[in-house]
Symmetry: C2
Subunit: 113 residues, 2 copies
């Protein structure tokens, strides 16, 4: 049984503000399924690299995602240890899974490793 921690309205509204933007919500959906590097997200979302990087910075600052460098690539994944992780997870599970789109990317050889 997990402890039901109450969070402040400030903290939660900040998380929701980050998720309340279509691009960032899609990023979260994507890195929930598997870790992805920036250029993969650029392909997947069809947006410019700086735009993606700037969204990732906000998500990283809020500790909603974790980064890990592998050579030239920096991989991002959902941070399961976030205080509001189960809210985030619940929200992502409202949406259709990104798995199919990620398999598409793989088929087109657009994944980096």
């Amino acid at each position: 049984m997990t402890i039901q921690m109450k969070v402040t309205t400030d903290e939660l509204s900040n998380v929701l503000k980050l998720l309340g933007e279509k691009t960032r919500l899609t990023i979260m959906q994507s890195v929930y399924v598997r870790e992805l590097c920036v250029c993969e997200l650029v392909e997947l979302l069809d947006m410019s690299q700086p735009a993606i990087s700037q969204h990732l910075r906000k998500l990283r600052d809020a500790k909603l995602v974790q980064e890990k460098r592998k050579g030239n690539w920096i991989y991002y994944k959902v941070n399961h240890d976030h205080l509001s992780y189960h809210v985030v997870e619940m929200i992502i599970n409202e949406l259709p899974s990104m798995e199919n789109k990620l398999k598409e990317l793989e088929k087109q050889n657009l994944l980096c490793e």
Copy 2:
């Protein structure tokens, strides 16, 4: 057993954007506990009447709240029939309940009926 409807990323991010603002999230928390008129929300949140009305309009446009006129007063409550109601409910339940603050208002005779 309720049917698990998937929602679009657009729809959900719009809902989260509305909840991702502290004042609006607090309004939702409040009208989740009991229906409240505008002037009660003005007291409770200690904000100007137009500011509250403008937030309510956004919540109403998104059908997150329902309004009901009673004489001069217009009461607002959470709309339980919203497509994403169970997400909204789950989010609100992350937060400490507003019941105590509402009882405070009552004690100070600041409720309208």
